[in-house]
Symmetry: C2
Subunit: 462 residues, 2 copies
């Protein structure tokens, strides 16, 4: 019996397919940037089945690609182009094991969609705060393995802050049981931290205990016009203070981005009468009126509107959330998901924009993002009407230009999306040799046969 | 030149001493549970000096004991009894490198006392939230290496949640520079997580960037009498909700503990008129009146007082903070720093108390602690007037009795104090073989010569 046959036997007839039509959507990264091949897709239904698969893989040296909702942005979730990786999909491990309102915890398997977690928590009058564009499709195991962020990081943290316990199958097939619902535990190394954000290279997360919160009973949403990006940084510090640190979102939007949205997204409208160079969309579990009145008074803000209803708040959020879509409709766009210290945000935007324009005078920087996290989606739009493929041919060169500045300012070249295959060369370029060495030692300690998600994070020739 | 001479040369004349009178206080764990010996105490002033020491140590196989403020509770900070460990004190690395109000960050060296961090933040109208009894003496490097908790964990998290960046000297002498002030960074493995809570076994933390917060502008402190420990759990869930998750403390106090305090600590007085079996001291950045009124109404609480001034709040806190001192004055006490899921807290207290009383009918359980963290200081007081050494001779046996119940209920045998030397045997007993194996692999990956804080976390014969 071949190894693949043994794997099929381990998961039973419902747990595998070789049907290329069924497999096809699992082979393509959702933006079409990468397409892989696989001889076999496995869909185990239990942790023991995952264990059996990985044990066989380690013993035989068979490489495994791990996939959740396949919504990642770094080409990490699809199998390799050489067709040697067996695809391990977590989609059938989709049980919510328990929700405990008194503990403010939820225990679920890796294949549960984030939106399903939202619903399960809401049914017990609790809230799971992770919120991101792909929440209908992305799965718990994936958001843990990529340490996902999203729009609520400011108040609730990234996934790392939301995980209390993990169950992980190691590349060797051993099951590590760290599925505990403890708020405090200092018994040696905190092993669960190793797997969070490790992009499936150290083990397959099969289940997790996550934190829940009381739902926010009040919410205030404001859209504020600013004279400069610098003013947003000032306003942010003041907002943290005046709201008693109850800000839940603080999103920077440049005029350019708003214009793209108004142009391309139906039924959107400018909520303010006159254009301003910058905007902030902010939300707090506290009235924003005192803050905004003070900012208007002293000139840090030039105009503002506060949502008077849920519909108005949704309309304001739609402006922010439609930026990526509007950019796509506007034409070519080269993306950077970077972070710098919050205080350097305006300086970074100015410096990086100038550097880009010096080389590409027709390009249009559209820097937007999560001010409170220092996270800028520093996207560069092509000139109006420019050829998209021709513009996007500059992707790697422009990345290098922008990332040089990010690193010089103490920033990160991947704030929330991770490395995957897409940025492994950039990682090797920017991270000091010692960092890479430590990471490789850790990888070897967990995956001695180097079978799990090879070529993600680390360059593929290794 | 001997290795010790080379180490002396590396730190210069101010950086070392062999004077036994100077060294003496650094050799004794502060409760007197462990006394070590050393041929040499090194007090480097810079990261490069730490690097030189560790390089020499790794090359020569010289063991190193790392010490901060020497306030730890697990005998980890003092050198070994065999006198072979060189003592590395971080006390001279005591510079605050920067405080950035706009970033809400502070960068400081390992030897800065936590109280000094509080002051530095306050000068810029910011707040560093870590608060624990030893804050006047304990140092930044130590609270990071032990992932310290304290009374503000409920709102602000343990040290792990408060660290943004680290500078670490590896056992090999290599300097790992992760001193970044980023809120989001997903560029490969998050290496700083490995050093937080690793008790100095993987590297010497020499500096860190920590998060600051806006100061709390309003604070409400209440002391509430409860019919049962179970009622505290109910009240906690309701309190999180009704305060908009703005609880900053929620501390359980049994009547026994209050009586010890009233008996032994001068000028304390019972804030309520009639005794009750349990109390909660709670604090929030939100008025507590509506919550407490509702609890009194439906019987979850039987009496309550809300502090009407800062002095009254201080007096209430003094009742809680004097428990350990009062226990000491009352006689022998065997301690457990454990955690269970929040919802299991009352059940754990009942079960563990019954188990202890079955074996030691005269013992007096005094379980108190941080309800919101599921963290019980499950202390057992000897019978009134009992011989202290005779009672404390039961320490290990009683620990085992209590820890068996903790582990059976999915809890942790060291919620916030860590393992050190004190609990390494317990760790080896309770953690699954796979966990210990993974930890040893990590230790070997970072400290191949096994020279750094050997015998902490892992049993000393290895």
């Amino acid at each position: 019996m071949t190894v693949l046959d043994q794997m099929k036997a381990a998961v039973g007839p419902k747990g595998w397919t070789e049907d290329s039509a069924v497999i096809a959507p699992h082979l393509v990264e959702w933006r079409g940037l990468y397409k892989g091949q696989t001889p076999l897709m496995l869909s185990p239904a239990t942790t023991d089945e995952v264990s059996a698969i990985l044990r066989l893989a380690s013993e035989s040296g068979t490489r495994i690609a791990v996939q959740g909702g396949n919504t990642g942005l770094t080409c990490a979730g699809v199998p390799d182009q050489d067709g040697q990786e067996v695809l391990l999909s977590l989609g059938r491990m989709n049980r919510i094991r328990s929700v405990d309102a008194r503990d403010f915890t939820l225990t679920a398997e890796a294949g549960v969609a984030v939106a399903t977690l939202h619903q399960a928590a809401a049914e017990l009058d609790r809230m799971f705060p992770l919120s991101l564009a792909s929440e209908g499709s992305c799965m718990l195991g994936g958001v843990i393995s990529t340490n996902a962020g999203g729009v609520n990081v400011l108040r609730y943290g990234s996934m790392r802050e939301l995980v209390l316990g993990l169950e992980v199958v190691l590349p060797t097939g051993e099951i590590w049981n760290g599925l505990r619902a403890l708020r405090k535990d200092n018994t040696g190394y905190d092993l669960k931290q190793y797997f969070i954000g490790a992009e499936g290279t150290l083990g397959v997360v099969t289940a997790a205990v996550v934190k829940l919160f009381p739902p926010l009973r009040t919410k205030c949403t404001g859209f504020v016009a600013l004279p400069s990006a610098e003013a947003a940084i000032e306003l942010f510090g003041r907002a943290r203070d005046l709201t008693g640190d109850r800000l839940t979102a603080f999103e920077l939007v440049p005029r350019f981005a708003l214009e793209f949205v108004l142009k391309h997204i139906p039924t959107t409208r400018d909520p303010l009468t006159a254009p301003a160079p910058w905007y902030v969309l902010m939300e707090a579990a506290e009235p924003l009126e005192p803050l905004i009145a003070a900012a208007l008074e002293d000139g840090h803000a030039t105009d503002a509107v506060i949502a008077q209803s849920g519909e108005q708040a949704t309309a304001l959020w739609r402006l922010r959330e439609s930026i990526s879509e509007a950019q796509k409709l506007e034409g070519g766009s080269i993306k950077h998901d970077v972070s710098v210290p919050v205080s350097e945000m305006a300086a970074f935007i100015a410096r990086a924009s100038a550097a880009v324009l010096a080389v590409y005078p027709d390009a249009r920087p559209v820097p937007f993002g999560h001010v409170g996290d220092g996270n800028v989606h520093f996207n560069i739009q092509s000139a109006a009407g420019a050829d998209k493929p021709a513009f996007e041919a500059h992707w790697a060169a422009m990345n290098r230009l922008v990332h040089d500045i990010v690193v010089d300012m103490g920033g990160s070249i991947s704030a929330e999306h991770g490395i995957g295959r897409l940025k492994s060369v950039e990682l090797a370029h920017y991270r000091p040799a010692l960092d890479l060495q430590l990471m490789r030692r850790i990888k070897a300690a967990f995956d001695p046969a180097n079978i799990l998600n090879r070529g993600r994070i680390f360059e593929s020739n290794s």
